[in-house]
Symmetry: C2
Subunit: 396 residues, 2 copies
């Protein structure tokens, strides 16, 4: 039985595909330090669970397709505090940022259309683009330039008649790169000049470590038709399991298209929306404490990485990821070595091999992505394990 | 800014598009009896809410992409009671039956591929097929034949090289038609002979009123490669707002494809999965009471409909929908009349106009779909309103 060509073009998650080997290692009694997945260990604000417990209606009904009014209002209020005014009909609540991304792609892409994405990228961008029949066109970057991509020289030669959009996250996953205001403006200028959608994934907005105030591409002038924001409560409130996100745009035609999809899938889970609405009432101190904790982890991670001979990394400015270039030939083979052969005092470490974050064949083979979502003492131990493993791997 | 061709080909929900007029009517103080939407009023079993309250972990984490083991085991146990044995890796938990349908389409359809669907159909089938780049090819039926479609004469002439699947629900939405075992076998035979997927939407499985035991297309022999089941807790446990469904197949390649999509969207909401797992512990008496209540409603609805001069309907055998042919020229115009002009003692009624359930141009204009999800006394009043409104509409 034939499957679709597009599903064949999709890859398995490079972050999750080592799972069976991890299970086997755990069965042998090995403790694994997980630097491979962006699952924060920060406590979810209790307001979420309290909102669910306060639900007293006898029937768990469908919610309205665009989202419950309480949550849409909460998101509007949040954006007002960031300095952007959105109408209720410019915010569509989605099942995680993931659904917002897929909806955006389905609304703008037909077979063979292209989306420009700086490389290395969040691998699921590739899947969402491919699901919609499109192609991901990578904008090449390099570790030595701190993965910088916002330049006319890099982007303009890639634009042709099939190019429909530019998609990026800031702060970025997997690089932690955070765009400066003038870089975002440049990307907006290019999108506007060339008639492209600019899809800005801002789910890590709160996680910036240089003290700059919260901001959003939503502040850009004259981008009403071009701009699509993707947002989520997953990282902001450490509520990944809620699966609550949003697609935000002032482009009325695009929103009408997205609403068609929203109606077809009926609604987003009712209770999770109530919980998410309550999360937006959390006070600023929550974010300050969380940001400070991640800043410490970022510093620990960067310092420990740079102490490993032959490792190259840039100090990430945001999110909770960093790419690192290791002195090994192939980080996929090295990850298998870590899970199948290496251990120190019954412990090993997992990361996400770099090649899964690249569309360019052969790129990223010496790189890894680290999610620094562990407490500092665990991070130190995990990176000590990484150093020992590199030595042993190269001494084989 | 151009949208995709495929989003332009999608329709707004015919069930939800009269919503603004309903809001306006309510603002004028009109009470609306809602026969237009399949939102049951049956109480959600408290086990759902109790499972959520029992959650005590500090972080609301992502669930595994294929679903939490407790829920997969619950679904397996349920199918074992229906008489079908599924492995844990043959069940993928989805965000409602909706996501299972979209995933199935994305896995099997490329641009221009076709899916055979008996007409009238659940309108969202059209959207999911179109999102995947496919085309819905309607199998024509007629009210006079009780919307019967399982015949070689109707189906075989429609199959050509682009045909990839046959998709249907039994019991059916919007018709309530429930396929006999020999009809399902015939559809399976055709699918097998012609190399088609057979996608069987069984979300209304419990709602059959002729006393026959629970069954599933999963019992068919030799259909491991061809069969995809779509399931959901929404109607079974009156838990529409949980958004928990499943894609079930023994086709390993197809499941690998679906898992790629599942990984890209990360996971289904964690707490809703725990709640849904608890629902499967509800005892058989719950279903018996619910089924008996719906049977009474079905009987009331059918009896009252047949008392209206000029109305034609078939006694629906399952689900909680019926199609009815009215003695009016255009049921969309009639629905607008009901919302904008008609009222009796400050009350009116909503249904879903028939044309939205057809792909064939001009078909279904005199038909409506009724969701008999109200208590019998409210149903009686709603259908009395319908009779009065038909008289007044035709006397204008």
């Amino acid at each position: 039985m034939k499957l679709s060509d597009k599903i064949a073009r999709c890859d398995e998650s490079p972050i999750r595909k080592f799972h069976p080997y991890a299970v086997a290692a755990k069965k042998r009694g090995i403790k694994i330090h997980h630097l491979n997945i962006g699952q924060p260990d920060i406590q979810t604000p209790p307001a979420y669970f309290e909102a669910l417990e306060a639900f007293r209606r006898p029937v768990l009904e469908y919610a309205p397709s665009p989202g419950i009014p309480e949550l849409i209002e909460a998101v509007r209020g949040y954006y007002a505090r960031v300095g952007v005014s959105y109408g209720a009909d410019e915010i569509l609540i989605t099942t995680g940022g993931s659904e917002a991304l897929l909806m955006a792609m389905l609304c703008i892409l037909d077979e063979g259309d292209e989306v420009l994405v700086p490389e290395p990228f969040y691998p699921n961008y590739h899947t969402f683009i491919t699901m919609a029949g499109g192609r991901l066109c990578p904008i090449a970057t390099s570790p030595e330039e701190n993965y910088q991509f916002a330049s006319r020289e890099k982007i303009e030669p890639l634009i042709h008649e099939k190019t429909r959009a530019i998609l990026f996250a800031t702060p970025g996953n997997p690089t932690g790169t955070t765009l400066r205001a003038e870089e975002i403006q440049l990307l907006a200028d290019i999108a506007k000049e060339r008639g492209l959608y600019m899809i800005c994934d801002e789910v890590y907005r709160e996680f910036v470590y240089d003290g700059s105030p919260l901001t959003s591409a939503g502040k850009l002038a004259d981008m009403d038709e071009n701009l699509i924001l993707v947002d989520s409560v997953s990282k902001r409130f450490s509520a990944c399991g809620a699966r609550i996100g949003a697609l935000i745009t002032r482009n009325k035609q695009l929103m009408r298209g997205a609403i068609k999809i929203a109606q077809a899938r009926l609604s987003v889970a009712t209770l999770d929306q109530l919980g998410a609405a309550a999360l937006y009432g959390v006070d600023a101190a929550y974010f300050d404490a969380t940001r400070e904790e991640y800043r410490r982890r970022r510093d620990t991670c960067y310092k420990k990485l740079m102490e490993i001979p032959g490792v190259f990394a840039c100090a990430p400015q945001g999110a909770f990821y960093t790419m690192a270039t290791l002195p090994v030939d192939d980080t996929e083979a090295f990850q298998l070595f870590l899970l199948n052969e290496f251990e120190d005092k019954g412990e090993t470490v997992m990361f996400a091999p770099g090649s899964g974050f690249y569309a360019t064949e052969g790129a990223g083979k010496s790189e890894i992505r680290i999610a620094y979502v562990l407490r500092c003492e665990d991070l130190e131990r995990a990176l000590d394990l990484l150093r020992m493993a590199i030595e042993r791997y190269n001494a084989r």
